[in-house]
Subunit: 238 residues, 4 copies
C-alpha cells in the first residue's frame, strides 16, 4: 500500500499498481519518490504511516479526533507492552493508535457489539497491519471482561457505567480507565458511578483545539473551530 | 520504587523501606496494598507508572504539559519501534513519554546543551528505567543531527528554525517534525522556515484544556484555567 | 470624587481633599491634571467614569464581570429609555451599567432580598450618581413584579425559574429576559422552565475571555485565564 | 415597520401592509399579536427592537458580532449622553448600538470613506430611527477628527494607528479608544503605537462564545463554534 499526495496536499491510500485520480492515471510500478500521472501531474509516493491510515479510514459511529486521542495517550501514559481493553471499537481508530504503541509485547482487546462496525474495524486493522496485536471481540462488554491485569480500559459507549465494575476487576492496581462521553449528563453519571466503585484520581476534561493561520495579510486563529466533541473522564484503580 | 497515595490523593514516590510524611512514618517492607503510618494514617502502595514519575519529576526549563504531550503523540502517530530525535531535553518529560512508546525496538536521541538540565534529565530517565532506550547527548543540535531514518523530530528550543535543515536530512520520508513555541512570532518564523525548507502538511495548533467539576451544588467548568502554554507546529517531509 | 492613577496604573477613588497612599500624601485642592504626593510621586487626577466606579466598588455576593455584562448589553440591545427589572441586586454592578444606559428617561428597578447587600448597593449607586434612575427594592422578586411594559428582566438568583411567570407578565412583547447561572443544572432547568412558560428565541451562552500579551520576548495569550463564571440564557416574550 | 416571526423562529422585518413568505401572504392591517397567512400559518407580529434591526440589516465590509459589540460596551462603560467617534462605519451596526445608548443627549459621529458602505449604513440608520443621533461623515478619519471632548473612539480600520494621534486630541481625559483588529500583527502594531502616543490602561482581548445545547439526548456545547473574529484593544487617555 502506498500513500499518494498531490500538489494540493490531498492524500490517497493506494493498493495495487495503478491509481486513477481527477489529475490522471498514476502508475506505481516505479520506485520513484515522485510519480507523474499520464496528464503530467506530480504525486509524492510514500509508505503510509499510521496517521495516514487513520485519516483515510472508513468511519462508523462516532470517530475520535486527534485532540481527544492525544489526551487519552498522555493522561494515561499508555506505553510499550501494556494490555488495553477498549469498547466500543467503532471504526477502530483508538484501538489502532493503542496497538501501535503497546506492540510488540502488549495487546489491545477491543469489544464491539455491532457486527457492521466490527467488520469495518477489522478491515481498518488489517490495512494498518496491526491484526497481530488487536483482538476484536464481537461481544457486549457490559456482560463482562475476561482479560486480567489490564493497564488501561477505554470506553466510548452509550452507557459506560455498566462496565465500571467489570473494568475495576480487570484492571491492574494503578491502571487507568478513560471514558469518552459527548453529553454532560453522561459525564456526570460517569463520575458518580466511578466514585461509587471507589475509583480514584477522577478527572473530567475537555480539549479545545485552535489552529493558527499564517497568511500574507496576517496571523490569526482560524475562523472555523470545532466547538465540542466530548468530555473525557480519567480515573485509576488503587 | 513505590508510589504512596494518601487519603487526600497526594502522591509520593518512595525509594527505600521507610518513608516520613506529615501523616507519620510508613514502613514499606510489607507487601500489603495499603500501608499504615505509625500515626495510623493509611496509604495506598502501588508500583509507579510512567505518569507518576512524570508528575513527581524534578523540573528544569520549560515543562511540557499533558495536553501538549498528547497533541505530539496523536498528531504524529509515533509508535513502537520509531526512531525519535528530541531537543532540548529539558527535564526529559517528552523523551520519557516517547521512549515508553517506541521501546523496545525504537530509540530516542535527546539533545541538551545545558549540562545541569541534562543531569536532571539523566536522573529522571533512570528513575523511569528507560535509560536503555534513550540516548542523552550533551550537545547543540543546531550543529547537526547524526541520526538517520528518523521517524519524528521534536523541538523545544529558543530558535528551532536553526535545526530544520538538519531535521530534514535526518528524517525518513513521511516523517514528522513537531515544534513547541510559546510565542506567536516564533510560531510564525517556524512556519516560514518550514515552508522555505519545503516541509509539507504544515499546521500550527494550540490546545486549551478545561476541567469539568461535579460538586453537590452543581456541575461547571473549573474557575481556574491555564490560558496558554505554547503553539505546536507539525510538518512532514515528503 | 476624583480618580487617582499612579505610575504603575493602580487606581484610587478619592473623596475629600487629601489622600494618603503608600507613595505619600496627595493634596487634591489644585485643579491640575497631574498631582504630586509630598514624597514626589506623580498621580493622574481624573473625573471617574462609570467603569472606574465599577472597578473599585465594594462587592457582595457574586460579582458580574465585564465579559458577561457585555453579553447582556449586546444580546438584548438595551438602550436609552428602556425599563429594566433586575434581581438580585448584589453589589449593584449590573444595575449601574443598565441605568447608565437607559437614563435619563428609562428606569432600573432592582430587587434585593438581603439587606446588607442592598445597603452596599445603595452606596454604590449613590457613588455613581445614578440614584435618580434606579429604584432599589428590598423585596423577594419571587413574590411578584409590579412593573409593567418592561423591556428587559435580568436575573442572578439561586432559583431564577421561580420568577419566569412574573417576568413574562411584566415584559413588553418583544422584551428580553437574561438569566445568569454558574451551574449547568441551573442553566438546564432555566431553559426547561422558559420553554414551559412559552418564552421564545431561547439561547444559552458562555463567554471566554483571553488577553493577548505583547512583551519584548514576543506575543502570546496570558498564562492565566478565567475558566468559568456563568452561563447566560437569553429569551424573549413574543 | 413590523417584525414577523414564524413558528420556526425565522424573522422578517416588514414595511407595508402585506408580506409574502414561503408560508403564504400575511396581511398586517389588523392590530392582532398573531397574524395568519392566507395558507393558515401563524406569525407573531411585533414592534422590532434594535436587536431585530441589527440581525436583519444589509451588511457590508466586516460585520461586528454581538460578543465583540458587548465587549466594547462593557469595557468602556459607554452611557447616556456620551459623545462617540466611530470609523469605519461599515454597515453601521456598532454606530446603531452606540447611538441607542447615548441618545437622547449624546451623539455618534461615524466616518466612512467608502460611499457604497455609507449608503448602506445610512439606510440602516434610518430604518432604526436613529438618524437624529448619528452623524454619518463620508470622510477619511485619518485626515483628522473635528469632534472634541469625545468619550469614546471606536476604530475598525485597515490601519487604525494612523488615527491614534487624532483620537488622543479628540478624547476627553479619561476617555476610551477601542480598536478592532482581526490580525495579530495589527493588534501588536496597535499596542505599540498606543504606547508611543502615551495612551494608558492598554489591554488587548479576544472573546470566545460557546453555545450550550439542551437536547433530549443530553446537554453539550454546540458542535460548531466561531474560532475567531478579532482582537479588541482598549486604552485610555489620562
Amino acid at each position: 500500500m502506498k500513500l499518494l499526495v498531490d500538489k494540493k496536499g490531498r492524500k490517497h491510500l493506494v493498493e495495487g499498481e495503478k491509481f486513477q485520480t481527477d489529475l490522471g492515471i498514476v502508475d506505481l510500478n516505479s520506485a520513484a519518490d515522485v510519480a507523474k500521472s499520464h496528464l503530467g501531474h506530480e504525486f509524492y509516493v510514500l509508505n503510509p504511516k499510521l496517521i495516514d491510515i487513520y485519516e483515510k479510514m472508513p468511519r462508523s459511529g462516532s470517530f475520535i479526533l486527534k485532540k481527544d486521542l492525544g489526551a487519552i495517550l498522555a493522561y494515561t501514559g499508555v506505553g510499550s507492552g501494556d494490555v488495553v481493553v477498549d469498547a466500543g471499537t467503532g471504526s477502530g481508530a483508538l484501538a489502532l493508535f493503542l496497538a501501535n504503541i503497546v506492540k510488540p509485547n502488549g495487546r489491545v482487546y477491543t469489544y464491539e457489539i455491532n457486527e457492521k462496525f466490527a467488520e469495518i474495524a477489522r478491515k481498518n486493522i488489517e490495512k494498518a497491519g496491526l491484526q497481530e496485536y488487536i483482538e476484536l471481540k464481537i461481544k457486549d462488554i457490559a456482560e463482562g471482561i475476561k482479560e486480567k491485569n489490564v493497564d488501561l480500559v477505554t470506553l466510548d459507549l452509550e452507557e459506560p457505567w455498566k462496565v465500571f465494575a467489570h473494568a475495576k476487576n480487570a484492571l491492574k492496581r494503578g491502571g487507568f480507565i478513560a471514558i469518552y462521553t459527548p453529553y454532560i449528563e453522561h459525564a456526570k453519571r460517569t463520575v458518580e458511578v466511578l466514585r461509587e466503585e471507589s475509583f480514584k484520581s477522577i478527572k473530567t476534561l475537555e480539549l479545545l483545539e485552535r489552529e493558527l493561520e499564517f497568511r500574507e495579510k496576517g496571523t490569526r486563529p482560524r475562523t472555523r473551530m470545532l466547538g465540542h466533541t466530548a468530555y473525557i473522564t480519567f480515573a485509576r484503580k488503587y
